[in-house]
């Protein structure tokens, strides 16, 4: 399968501190790609380089190359806003904006100004269906998104990204604060969504990675230790540190 994202010799620095060391990685299209590792492994940083959200942090420096569909995303002619529409992100804590459910989902499409009212309503409905939230909120799209439960809020954030009609979806520990049922719902949606999108997730534990991933990468202290198909990594890890981590000996 074609690689959606190719990362070549990526080095990332926050001021003097290096967060990612010489990373090479290829992420195939239409799969769920998990990046696992303990805190401070550079996973969040990695995800944020993929849609250039890291640009917002002062004092960062990036070396190397990241390609999306064979085009460097750090090339000067790249439109950052366009890139972020193609590569959406769901954060670790639910972040609804203080507006209605509908307005939250419509936020991205409205910024792009490409849709009339009817098309917008259809986009919102489709996004909510894809995120398995439609049935729960279809009669109250006008209420404040903040009044939803945590699990619903996170699915709202997923729907908000889906409404961008992106190509890649990044999820940074999206289920860290959620109950098992909400987590199951999100995992179910993701498995369905990978048919249309490329999904890169930092799962909140190794079990989740084992459940949903096609491929798994293990990172430690900014280094990529091991990467491979789900079965390979979990049943016969090549590196000692990977087996220690997935058997719960640290992290």
């Amino acid at each position: 399968m074609a690689d959606k994202i190719v990362i070549n010799d990526l080095n990332f620095y926050y001021n003097q501190k290096q967060a990612i060391n010489n990373l090479n990685m290829s992420i195939p299209a239409n799969e769920i790609f998990s990046v696992i590792g303990p805190a401070n492994s550079g996973i969040t940083t990695l995800l944020r380089t993929l849609n250039r959200l890291c640009d917002l942090t002062p004092g960062i420096r990036i070396e190397g190359e990241i390609q999306l569909d064979n085009q460097s995303i750090y090339a000067p002619e790249v439109s950052v806003t366009e890139l972020r529409r193609r590569v959406g992100i769901v954060f670790d804590v639910p972040t609804p904006l203080p507006m209605s459910i509908f307005d939250n989902i419509a936020y991205g499409p409205r910024l792009a100004r490409k849709k009339n009212k009817k098309a917008l309503a259809e986009t919102v409905e489709l996004a909510l269906r894809q995120a398995a939230l439609w049935e729960e909120v279809k009669d109250r799209l006008k209420i404040q998104a903040m009044s939803l439960s945590g699990g619903q809020q996170q699915r709202l954030c997923l729907a908000r990204v889906l409404a961008l009609e992106p190509e890649v979806i990044l999820l940074d520990r999206p289920c860290s604060g959620l109950d098992p049922i909400s987590t199951a719902k999100i995992e179910e949606s993701l498995t369905e969504l990978k048919k249309q999108f490329t999904i890169i997730i930092s799962p909140h534990n190794t079990q989740q990675a084992a459940r949903i991933s096609d491929r798994v990468a293990f990172m430690l202290m900014g280094n990529l230790i091991e990467e491979g198909a789900n079965m390979e990594v979990f049943s016969s890890p090549k590196d000692r540190r990977t087996s220690d981590y997935i058997t719960g000996r640290f992290g």
Binding site: E82, R84, T95, R160
Partner: protein, 278 residues
Amino acid sequence: MRITARNAEKTAKILIWTIALMVIAVLIFIIIFILYRGLPVINWNFLTEIPRRSGREGGIASPIIGTLSVTALAVLIAMPFGVGTAFYLAEYTKGGIITRIIRFCTESLAGIPSIIYGLFGFIFFLDVLGLGWSILSGGLTVAIMILPTLIRTAEESIRSVPKSYREVSFSLGGTKWQTIRKAVVPSAIRGIANGIILSVGRCVAETAALIMTAGYELIMPRSVFDSSRSLAVHFYTLVMDGISERNAYGTAAVLIILVFFINVVANMLINRFVAKGR
């Protein structure tokens, strides 16, 4: 009695209650005292007639108009500059030397007594620009005076908007301007508006700076180039020159009601505006 956690808790509670009550009591006493002496003076004629015989007789129609026009002018002039500066400070700078200079200036400006602004306005607007004693001179002077408050309150409310809102907006393909307009402003607008209301209060109450710039003409102003006495100045003159204590209380009562009225109307407008903006 031994000091136990429970006793301390009780004492603290009583102490805090007493302090709060005392403060509120003083405020209420002042308002009741002035309204008690002032309300009987207020009637239709008092509100619609211009002062006669230096304010011994007649009403306070022209000072009301003077106050309202100076305030409106000052707020209209100061608002774009103040809010604009606040957005610049909160969103577009990263704490460099320019930010520090601007912040130092606004903080210093906030601490200057209003009569100094009056002196500046007197020299600059009246003398240099030749605007004379006028509503325009007064409005411009007071506009400069309220700028620091406006900038401070607006900047603080912009900064208090959670960072995650901006991040979400950027992550959904928003540009900086779209992010400010759609994710930051709706959450900051209430704080900004409160700063504006605070400034309106200062404009309405301003005396010293206005004596020197808007003058103390009693006839009805016909344009912003006419001099006009503000309510606070009128009140000051009535009392200090021993003209009419009765009318002074009436003026004070009108001043209080005016501030109260402006607050209520402004809050209503904000609620409607904010509700609609979403």
